[in-house]
């Protein structure tokens, strides 16, 4: 019989496995569930049945029915309620022995360490590049305090998000994500608002990606153009450890033709369209999900890079509490909301944490694992932020020069940073279509009920997204601002407002809402609103 290795189950609409950022697609067990049981070995006459009679006959039926339809047709696929329970599924080796499928619950599989790593991996985004700038904006001491405080706050909000489906009795919530919980409590408006704000974070991320990709592509091109033809005479040789302050560098007025065509703000964003718009129009993004490991490598490389740079440059820290000085910034600044905005996006995982936690083997350790993951993420951000800030050579340059993308502070000719830029560029090129796919699936699914209504719809949506990215890259490429605004906007809804409200409503329904709890959660909502408003004023 043909295709004996083809899984008989595992048909699920592709949208579902990408209800979160692509890196966790491999954690979804349903697509890999083994249900193919070979016909039993009839050579030996064992007194005891090796598989249950029901499973054996079901296998025979499934075998037969699969011959009657096309391979992608599901009209005769066994529905879930018909599949035997895990205890009755056996796997046969060709030699005739049979062993049971190890406790294979569809949803719980991964040991804690894998879950923690998956959360860390998903949360680590490009906001890591803006943390030093954020710390600079808030002031060194205040920045550290805010980082810890915001991390704890978002950890708590994440915790009430994971708790929320469990409080719902009487309905099967095993497949629900947070928008479904919002729909349950607040009806259509709840679902729509959580969706819209989720879109804000996704589209904000995509715009940031476009700006960064233009940046990295530009620098890569500069490196190759300037450095490689002239390896002996490269002017940057001595500057491998130097950092730049772009604000003080005078604009290079003499433009040669290369710089005319290879300009960070004018032409490169447009070149990227040719590369990325076709990728966005792919029907399925599973190809790009394979490259998520690149993100991990990039982050690790960044950490190594930061360590080496800090080791070479040494520490330059002086504490000026409230007054600015020529080279240093005060330790407590009024611009601190910019850091909170950035951190809201940096610690944001609330739209997909339920799905990530579902595959944790020991569900009772969820809170512990989540806390460890947040600790790890906070630690990584703190490490990178503090080291870059501290190692920034202040005597010649002012701390105020730290760029929203700290890699910009290194010259184009720096080899280590060049490698970092190339890695990140490649990683972003592979993650960008995944994000586009998520946006497309959610928007098209909600508006038209179909993930791919027609090529024109998709094209219009993609042009809109790409256009936003291009415009931002050309006219306002300050990723710090883009990150803090999109972070504050989507944070308001998905981190502070909706989770706190859902928590209070569910406590009220159970009759457990104390006034302290109500005050605290209302305070959370107020914090969220304040965070957003402060972005406009500070």
């Amino acid at each position: 019989m043909e295709d004996d290795c083809r899984p008989l189950l595992g048909y699920e609409p592709t949208g579902e496995s990408y209800s979160h950022r692509g890196s966790t697609g491999s954690l979804d067990i349903r697509t890999k569930r083994p249900f193919h049981v070979e016909p039993r070995n009839i050579v030996r006459d064992d007194p005891q049945e090796r598989i249950s009679a029901e499973a054996a006959i079901l296998n025979s039926r499934v075998h037969y029915y699969s011959r009657l339809t096309g391979s992608s047709d599901t009209v005769l696929s066994p529905p879930n309620h018909v599949i035997p329970t895990a205890e009755e599924i056996y796997i046969y080796s060709p030699l005739g022995t049979a062993f049971k499928v190890p406790d294979c619950d569809p949803a719980s599989k991964n040991p804690s360490i894998v879950t923690i790593f998956a959360i860390w991996n998903t949360m680590m985004g490009t906001s890591i590049l803006s943390i030093p700038w954020g710390i600079k904006q808030a002031g060194f001491t205040l920045g550290i305090i805010i980082l810890i405080f915001t991390g704890l706050l978002m950890l708590y909000c994440c915790y009430i998000v994971i708790k929320s489906p469990k409080a719902i009795k009487g309905v099967d919530t095993s497949n629900w994500e947070f928008p479904d919980v919002c729909r349950f409590y607040f009806g259509k408006s709840g679902q729509w608002s959580s969706l819209v704000f989720s879109m804000v974070s996704l589209i904000g991320a995509m715009v940031v990606y476009w700006v960064l990709m233009s940046n990295f592509l530009y620098n890569t091109g500069q490196f190759i153009y300037i450095i490689c033809p002239y390896p002996k005479t490269n002017p940057g040789r001595n500057d491998t450890m130097s950092t730049l302050c772009l604000g003080t560098m005078g604009n290079d007025t003499s433009e040669n033709s290369f710089e005319h065509y290879w300009s960070k703000n004018r032409t490169i964003p447009l070149y990227l369209i040719i590369l990325l718009l076709p990728l966005l129009c792919f029907r399925s993004a599973s190809f790009f999900a394979r490259f998520t490991f690149f993100g991990t490598i990039s982050v690790i490389y960044l950490i190594v890079l930061v360590t080496i740079k800090a080791a070479r440059l040494g520490f330059h820290l002086e504490f000026h509490w409230f007054e600015p000085s020529q080279f240093y910034v005060p330790d407590f600044r009024l611009l601190f909301p910019q850091l909170t905005g950035v951190l809201t996006l940096a610690f944001f995982i609330h739209n997909c944490i339920i799905t990530l936690m579902k595959s944790n083997k020991n569900q009772e350790h969820n809170v512990r694992d989540l806390s460890l993951a947040y600790l790890l993420v906070g630690g990584t951000y703190m490490y990178v932020g503090v080291l870059i800030f501290a190692a920034f050579p202040s005597p010649p340059l002012s701390k105020d020069c730290i760029e929203p993308n700290f890699l910009d502070n290194f010259s184009s000719s720096d080899v280590m940073v060049f490698v970092a830029r190339v890695c990140l560029l490649f990683q972003m090129v592979t993650v960008y279509p995944l994000l586009g796919y998520l946006v497309r699936v959610q928007i098209m699914g909600q508006l038209f009920g179909n993930h791919y209504p027609s090529f024109i719809h998709i094209l219009v949506l993609n042009i809109f997204i790409v256009g936003t990215g291009v415009l931002m890259a050309m006219f306002y490429p300050n990723i710090g601002s883009i990150i803090r605004f999109s972070g504050a906007i989507c944070g308001l809804a998905l981190v502070f407002f909706l989770p706190a409200l859902v928590h209070m409503v569910s406590l009220k329904q159970q009759g457990n809402l104390t006034w302290q709890s109500a005050v605290f959660h209302t305070f959370l909502i107020v914090l969220g609103i304040a965070n957003l408003l402060a972005q406009f004023f500070m």
Binding site: I57, S60, R61, Y64, L68, D73, H81
Partner: protein
């Protein structure tokens, strides 16, 4: 006597979406084309040319579909559809929310049958029972059965509960076939004698097109209660593979140190499967026995039933 007048029909009817096409595909090993699902209602009789029990042709109709188009076509072609019907198999979807409507269409089919083919046998299948919780299945089926029996008077209807995901479908259709074979008891007695004479462990009689078990004899307890359905599935898959090469399945012998099994054509409507657990008996002996028995059984078939004898004489 023209052969077309002899083609009696088996009508498979029911509401659109009740599972008739899947059922027919599974029982008769037809490939379900993707289009039937997209089209929704089975618009036409499909001219299926599926031969069943020799001279019966299976016709599939959607009854009471959502279109008024279906209704009109139905009423204008009514006599044509319901003439010469040997068997009416009506499929009810147990999950249907429109019980009144279903019963209404069923009754109009019965009226048409009474007018045009009053001798037809009526079977009702309450389908998709796997969607009902296990502890409620008996209850729900009994309710439906009572309603249907009541509605079907003066005709007698036999009810079965079925689902493609358990053995009930195969058993229901096997029961239907059993009731359609003339003189089936005599066949069974002769089959038992045959089995005892050749010292077989088990002898099965299958309907030719569908490999539904008509009758069987076993001399000792067998372990696997689902073996008939499994054999049927295996042979139907084999037939599907054969048809890809434009070959047709005729006979099969499976032998190992523990047993020998023979599947072969028996009479014009049936296949026989003989299981011998004494491997020392040579194949040739069993095959000769089967061949001799074949002549005997064909005589049996020829003797009974005017329909079948007419059919035989015409060949």
């Amino acid at each position: 006597m023209s052969s077309s007048a002899m083609k009696k029909k088996v009508l498979l009817m029911g509401k659109s979406g009740s599972g008739k096409t899947s059922m027919r595909s599974i029982i008769f090993a037809n490939y379900i084309a993707r289009d039937t699902r997209r089209l929704g209602a089975t618009i036409d009789v499909e001219h299926s040319h599926v031969r069943f029990l020799g001279n019966l042709v299976l016709n599939l109709w959607d009854c009471g579909g959502q279109d008024t188009f279906m209704e009109n076509y139905f009423t204008s072609q009514r006599d044509n559809i319901f003439r010469n019907v040997e068997v009416l198999i009506y499929v009810f979807d147990v999950e249907s929310r429109e019980l009144e409507k279903d019963m209404h269409y069923y009754q109009s089919c019965l009226e048409a049958i009474l007018q045009n083919s009053p001798d037809a046998k009526v079977f009702c299948l309450v389908h998709k029972m796997d969607l009902v919780q296990e502890d409620q299945r008996d209850l729900i089926f009994k309710e439906r059965e009572e309603d249907l029996r009541r509605l079907s008077r003066p005709l007698a209807c036999t009810c079965f509960r079925t689902s493609i995901w358990d053995e009930t479908l195969y058993k229901a259709w096997s029961s239907i076939v059993y009731q359609l074979i003339p003189n089936v008891q005599q066949l069974e007695t002769n089959l038992r004698n045959f089995a005892q004479i050749i010292e077989a462990d088990e002898v099965l009689l299958f309907e030719r097109a569908t490999f539904l078990v008509i009758s069987h004899y076993q001399c000792k307890e067998q372990r696997d209660a689902h073996r008939f359905e499994k054999i049927s599935n295996i042979i139907k898959q084999f037939k599907l593979s054969c048809s890809k090469l434009a070959a047709s399945f005729q006979s099969m012998e499976v032998r190992n140190s523990n047993f020998a099994a023979f599947i072969d054509v028996f009479t014009s409507n049936t296949y026989v499967m003989v299981i011998m657990s004494d491997p020392s008996i040579p194949s040739a002996a069993t095959l000769i026995n089967i061949r001799n028995a074949r002549k005997h059984f064909e005589k049996l078939e020829r003797v009974d039933g005017p329909k079948h004898s007419l059919h035989m004489r015409m060949r």
